[in-house]
């Protein structure tokens, strides 16, 4: 059977793909009237309430815009859930935290080097985007284990910047 879970913010739905059945977390069937207006644009009526929303889907995830708020949609298959459970059981804990670029930009300055002890909130490097300098800070107290970037290097959003252990 192919059943997947659809997670949006704190809401969770199960979707039975063979039968086309959408249920909420309590197991109630969700009844909606969905009309596609254009690629990625929908009119949805939920119990008479009218929503005009936008969904851009990429494989297992999607970005949805409702009233200019943006929500991530994640789809989890049975296998994903199993993998997650196994990882949890094996007792992996996140002792290292990798910080990624919050926006595309240019690394203008490295404030710390690898091997240096830092406190949470200390600036590690400076990213410049749209002419504004943004100091990227340590997410936790620890040691700078690795810095993935050099000065004058451009980064894309979500590129790895540095790891703190």
């Amino acid at each position: 059977m192919s059943e997947s879970t659809i997670n949006i913010a704190e809401f969770s739905y199960s979707f039975d793909e063979t039968r086309g059945l959408l249920k909420d977390a309590k197991g109630n069937i969700v009844s909606t009237d969905v009309k596609k207006i254009s690629e990625g644009e929908f009119s949805v009526l939920v119990g008479g309430r009218s929503y005009h929303l936008f969904v851009t889907r990429t494989k297992e995830t999607a970005t949805a815009t409702v009233n200019n708020f943006i929500f991530e949609v994640r789809r989890e298959t049975e296998r994903d859930k199993l993998t997650k459970r196994l990882q949890k059981d094996s007792g992996q804990t996140a002792s290292t935290v990798t910080t990624r670029a919050p926006m595309p930009g240019l690394i203008t300055k490295l404030l710390k080097q690898e091997g240096i002890a830092v406190a949470a909130g200390e600036g590690i490097l400076v990213v410049e985007a749209m002419k504004m300098e943004n100091e990227i800070k340590a997410a936790k107290t620890g040691t700078v284990k690795k810095i993935f970037v050099k000065e004058r290097q451009t980064v894309e959003k979500n590129d790895n910047l540095f790891t703190i252990e």
Partner: protein, 496 residues
Amino acid sequence: MKKIRKILIANRGEIAVRIHRSAKEMGIQTVAVYSDPDRTAPHVLLCDEAYSLTGTTSAETYLNIEKILKIAKDAKVDAIHPGYGFLSEKEFFAKSIIDAGLIFIGPRPETIELLGSKTSARDLLSKKNIPIVPGTTKPINTLDEAMNVASVIGYPVLIKASGGGGGKGMRRVDGQEELESAIERARNEASKAFSDDRVYIEKYIVNPKHIEIQILADTHGNVIHLGERECSVQRRHQKVVEECPSIALTPQLRAKMGQAAVEIAKAAGYVNAGTMEFLLDAAMNYYFLEVNTRVQVEHPITEMVYGIDIIKEQIRIAQGEPLSITQNEVKINGHAIESRIYAEEYDNNFLPSTGTITHYQPSEGLGVRNDSGIRVGSEITMYYDPMIAKLIVHGRTRNEALEKMKRALREYKIHGVKTTIPFCEMVVFHPEFVKGTYDINFVAKHYLVPDSKLDKYESSAIAASFISEGPASVKKSLNTINSIQQSKWKLRHRDE
């Protein structure tokens, strides 16, 4: 002076579109210039002619005087309008246009130089008895000098760039220990943003309102003011929501500040449109801040309230005509509010949000104006300013304008990047904004981070849309219409 028949617009985005519109209404031909990523931008699509600046970065394109002047000559334009930002406040740009025998639509180069450097403007006005914020009237050279000045005027102080605005190169310093690094950071930003790393120090006025006066001055010695705009809603020293008039100003104070602005213009020999910015403290004392020697981003709210097209006035002044109105004819009509729509993460420190605009449907209706520089398919890149549109509303009363803004923000549809729309909604719903008693610390004080809370209906709507796009395992080749009908049928069927 000769009549202008053709204008080159040395800018991009919404302001290029804005200038085009007024020029067309005056029967003037328009010439757009564009960078490589802007080949299909709205200003290129709208203008009569468009020429490539070849390149991507601002330095290669919209800041390249040589390329712009070459196009101006080849296209045989009479005048160049600089818009705001880019080269608009560079006196050498104005000068090179005039030297090429063309009209620069803006103040004289020497006025731009005098007022563009905030320190020389402060110097001039302190001699004219216009109140200025305590601080240096000259750029600071050494750390020792900075420390002395700061301790005399007292912390907190602001480090500001001599050569620019928009919050770039500006740093608040609360104590001596922060001074050195703040100056260094401010210098870096200022040198990148304005190619000028000079900075100066000003006293940080606690909890003021930002009030600015719009002026118009012609070549015949007429100077008038068009009242004020209140721009106290700022984040990172950048304006987000502005209104006209300000609730704080009585007609008497408006006349007084308006007169001060007119005096500043006269003292500087000002010609064309300009804005005098002031800080207004709780005791209704005002301090001169700076002059913006160009059209302001927020000029539309003044246009809506006073019924005057500021761009047209700029063009008329530039071709030597006298102002079309006298001070006595300037009358307030209703209330206007502007929300600036930036491609920024409303929930993450206003970081730039880049991407492609896949859907775009701005609000409409009575008293709603949308000045934008985007369309479906626009790529929002990190190369240019993240402001993509301005939503302006006009009502008979402030309350009507407020309700209109609430409605219009909710109606506005953009998908592809995150925008400041949810933030602007928070602002116009906030009791302090509604009361009008807010000051420039409004955003910081209330920590306005939009709460992106979903209700169960919205989340159901999203989930239903998501699955109707077809699960990832389903081949994209499926006929879209069929798949929608099918899933709808299934959903309804199960409902029975």
